[in-house]
């Protein structure tokens, strides 16, 4: 594998962290901003603000007219987007390399001068867009509400991972201009952001440009980081819900320690052993041999308070979801009872290494990964340690994390069945 490349770090006086990765293999530059704010900074009853706010950041700022953000980027042949997650919100552009200044102009303008351009009309339109986004992604999608319910069962009501990132429909409808303003003033400060540049530039010149656009933005202390951590184990609850679906599906979840811990790495590698590919345990058992499942998958979320572990199995038509749930449970119990074989560990490791390199193929993928490790660990180079961290996970560590955190009395589940099948 190639030697880890050098990343350059630069901190502005107003607190903005900058990481630069100079590359010359294609004429592009990725501009990526992570703000350390997400849905976890909301409160119950006022959810969805972080994401609605992300939409407002594309509605123009003092020197950029409404909707001109996308136009400026697209008319030079660039792409732009943003996304909101539990712990962070990111904004990113990939531009032709000679348009780096354009990206810095746009990002500095909305970091420094957003409120000048905020209007009730813009909020009204974006509320409506987001309500349609929620319908499209959640309410009108088969199985769409299951994961929300699962998180409600898994986390105590005051834990911020208990509500969905996109927010509740009523909360989105009730958001006001003052909410949006308040959110900006607390969270959108240079000291709460990481700016990552990856691409075809000279590092010295790029730092000068960053200074030019961002240095004059006023500094303010970063908000206090939240620390909710790993919640107590949930009541082991199991719910059934009806939906417009043709096939039953079982979701099973538990919490594990946060992204960045050794236990998280162990849980992550374990997800590949359970359902990473067709040779994985759940696929072989449920899809191939017993043929009771249509598909199986497992995840562990890369979140910083703690992490949701999720196992999902979609049943074949007519299969009793009770059998499906029992099979999923048994696979997880088995993972806690005995370590996987060396062959299984090796297979999972190879798959995750290939996936890791694959995600770093694009400049935006690289920039986003660097922004993440800098935001969470204050350490950009942490990214290059991922392969070693994965290699260091032992079979015993996987059994330990499954035994300690995924045990039956710590799991919750939601089963979705076709409408009319619950009498």
């Amino acid at each position: 594998m190639p030697a880890p490349p050098t990343l350059h770090r630069h901190r502005l006086e107003n607190g903005l962290q900058t990481v630069l990765f100079e590359r010359h293999d294609r004429p592009l530059v990725a501009v990526n901003l992570w703000y350390h704010v997400g849905s976890k900074n909301e409160t119950r009853g006022r959810t969805g603000l972080a994401h609605l706010f992300e939409h407002m950041l594309f509605q123009g700022s003092k020197h950029v007219a409404a909707n001109e953000h996308f136009r400026h980027v697209q008319q030079v042949g660039g792409v732009a987007n943003g996304s909101t997650w539990y712990d962070r919100t990111n904004y990113f552009e990939t531009l032709p390399a000679h348009q780096l200044e354009l990206g810095l102009w746009l990002e500095s303008d909305r970091m420094g001068f957003l409120l000048d351009a905020l209007t009730p009309e813009k909020l009204e339109t974006q509320r409506s867009v987001v309500m349609n986004e929620r319908r499209q992604r959640v309410d009108n999608r088969p199985y769409g509400r299951a994961v929300e319910r699962l998180h409600e069962l898994l986390y105590p009501a005051e834990h911020p991972y208990s509500w969905p990132v996109i927010g509740a429909m009523d909360d989105i409808a009730a958001a006001t201009l003052d909410d949006v303003r308040g959110f900006f003033e607390i969270h959108y400060r240079p000291s709460n952001a990481v700016l990552t540049l990856v691409g075809d530039f000279e590092t010295g010149d790029a730092i000068e440009s960053v200074e030019r656009w961002f240095a004059e933005l006023p500094s303010a202390p970063a908000p206090h980081p939240l620390r909710h951590g790993l919640p107590p184990a949930p009541e082991p609850r199991h719910e059934v819900m009806e939906d417009d679906v043709g096939l039953p599906r079982v979701y099973l979840a538990a919490t594990v320690p946060a992204y960045g811990c050794d236990e998280w790495d162990a849980a992550h590698l374990l997800t590949s052993i359970l359902a990473g590919g067709k040779a994985s345990r759940l696929h072989q058992d449920l899809v191939y041999r017993r043929q009771i499942a249509q598909e199986v998958s497992t995840y562990v979320f890369p979140t910083e308070e703690c992490a949701t572990f999720l196992a999902v199995a979609t049943g074949r038509e007519g299969v009793d979801p009770v059998d499906l749930a029992a099979a999923l449970s048994k696979a997880i119990d088995d993972a806690g009872a005995a370590p996987p074989t060396e062959a299984e560990r090796h297979r999972a490791l190879r798959g995750q290494l290939a996936a890791f390199y694959s995600e770093l193929q694009t400049y935006e993928g690289l920039a986003d990964a660097i922004g993440g490790t800098t935001t969470y660990f204050d350490q950009p180079e942490w990214l290059w340690s991922v392969p070693e961290r994965l290699e260091a996970v032992s079979p015993a560590a996987m059994a330990e994390v499954a035994g300690a955190h995924l045990a039956a009395d710590r799991r919750v589940s939601v089963t979705v069945v076709p409408r009319g099948t619950v009498s």
């Binding site: 974006q126 043709g246 040779a279 043929q291 190879r350 798959g351």
Partner: protein
């Protein structure tokens, strides 16, 4: 420090950094075409075996046969069963997939560079000695029936199926890639074997390779592993597709009584991929609905808030693939949103686009090319296009200069050839009782009801 910065307008760009389409090798490996583009920034490779037959070669009585065959290919050869193949691939950290599309059947391998030989050998083994084992066939049949069942509740799929059925009827592109419950139940392992044997051959296939490999080493591996691939004869011509839009605009509603939103799919026949005015058509789509700042998205999303996003697409296939505008909209806004789409189609069909719009879209398309070639998958996709549509090897090198010469008149000309505003198909999946009154004055309405409310559900 320096003088105060001028934030009032976009900064001046720097010096343009040059870009060329990656060097592509085009050679024959014992009569089998190889298109290869090396890229060495990461230790990864991707290799595909592409045969130029897909659902367009489904017998009319057996829709979904190509799709079924494509799915079965990776599920065993005469030497290894499905589990052994999966273990071999995953032990190497690779990914293997086989599937049939509309015009091609592809077996692809991606993984770490050091596993190139393994990948090529697996592709060859699958292409030359597939298993089509009866037990595997039953298992895959059950999975595909399950997939059909799952899709029958996906609103976007239902709307796009209703559109395809209305445009193409029983002809090619009218039946689902997946097939119907009836055709899937009837297909036999021998049907799949016969289909594959008739189509996969040295003369009608291409190998595409991208990533970190040595050219001579790759050729040597391919020569060895594909030595036994038959030369093949010319296969029967496909049944053919349609080339006329419906005589008047028609409305198809797929009833989903509980839906909280409506999926709209509005379209007609597109123009073929090798159309001589391709650059003007690509610009037309970018202005109309191909990017965030296109007319349709700005109208439906940013002006009206009807939707999270609306876009238009030319779905390229051999012959005339569909040209589609799609959006998931608030059900109460389905009528107004459809009218806005029709308004935009008529407007671009009637008036010259503005210079600003033309230049904005042109520079978008010129600038975006290197971005789309960053991943091995993106690069391989372009080579797929060169192979399937028989494009010249310098097609993507020359495309920028062709784009530069397109005028607003050319875009209008392209719009007039492409769009027939009174001969559209309007498909909507949502609650029929609310949709019918909103759409009834746009054309005759056909309502498809369930359960499941699938246009393919009762055939």
């Amino acid at each position: 420090m320096s003088a105060p910065i001028d934030r009032s307008r976009p900064p001046r760009p720097g010096r343009v950094h040059p870009f060329d389409f990656p060097q592509t090798l085009d050679r024959s490996v014992g009569g089998l075409r190889l298109l290869a583009a090396p890229r060495r920034d990461l230790p990864l490779v991707g290799v595909r075996f592409v045969t130029f037959a897909g659902a367009d070669h489904d017998p009319l009585s057996q829709p979904g046969l190509a799709g079924f065959t494509g799915a079965l290919l990776e599920e065993g050869t005469q030497r290894r069963d499905a589990t052994e193949i999966a273990r071999t691939v995953e032990d190497a950290g690779g990914q293997l997939a086989s599937r049939a599309g509309w015009n091609t059947t592809t077996v692809s391998y991606g993984g770490l560079a050091e596993t190139l030989a393994l990948g090529c050998e697996l592709l060859a083994e699958i292409a030359i000695e597939p298993g089509f084992d009866p037990q595997e066939t039953e298992r895959v049949r059950s999975l595909r029936l399950g997939e059909l069942r799952r899709r029958s509740n996906e609103p976007g799929y239902l709307a796009s199926r209703a559109l395809a059925r209305a445009l193409y009827g029983e002809r090619t592109y009218g039946s689902p890639l997946l097939g119907t419950a009836q055709s899937l139940t009837a297909a036999r392992a021998d049907d799949c074997r016969r289909w594959w044997t008739a189509h996969r051959s040295r003369s009608r296939s291409t190998v595409i390779a991208v990533g970190d490999f040595d050219e001579e080493q790759l050729v040597a591996i391919l020569e060895r592993s594909f030595a036994d691939l038959g030369k093949g004869s010319s296969a029967a011509a496909p049944p053919g597709t349609v080339d006329e839009n419906p005589e008047q605009t028609v409305v198809h509603v797929v009833d989903r009584p509980n839906a909280t939103q409506t999926e709209l799919c509005i379209g007609q026949l597109g123009l073929p991929r090798d159309d001589p005015q391709r650059p003007a058509l690509v610009l037309l789509n970018a202005i109309l609905g191909g990017k965030f700042t296109s007319r349709i998205n700005l109208n439906l999303r940013e002006r009206h808030g009807f939707t999270y996003g609306a876009s238009s697409h030319q779905l390229d296939r051999l012959g005339r693939g569909p040209f589609v505008v799609s959006a998931a909209v608030d059900t109460s806004a389905a009528g107004p949103a459809t009218r806005e789409v029709l308004f935009e189609l008529r407007r671009i069909h009637a008036e010259l686009v503005s210079t600003d719009e033309l230049e904005e879209s042109r520079s978008y398309l010129l600038g975006i090319l290197p971005y789309t070639l960053q991943t091995l998958r993106g690069l391989a996709g372009r080579l797929d296009e060169i192979a399937l549509y028989d494009l010249p090897l310098d097609f993507f090198d020359r495309f920028p200069e062709r784009l530069r010469s397109v005028s607003a008149d050319d875009v209008l000309g392209a719009a007039r050839r492409l769009i027939q505003p009174d001969r559209l198909v309007i498909a909507a999946a949502g609650p029929a009782d609310q949709l019918e009154p909103q759409l009834a004055d746009l054309g005759p309405v056909t309502i498809h009801r369930g359960p499941p409310a699938a246009p393919d559900g009762h055939e």
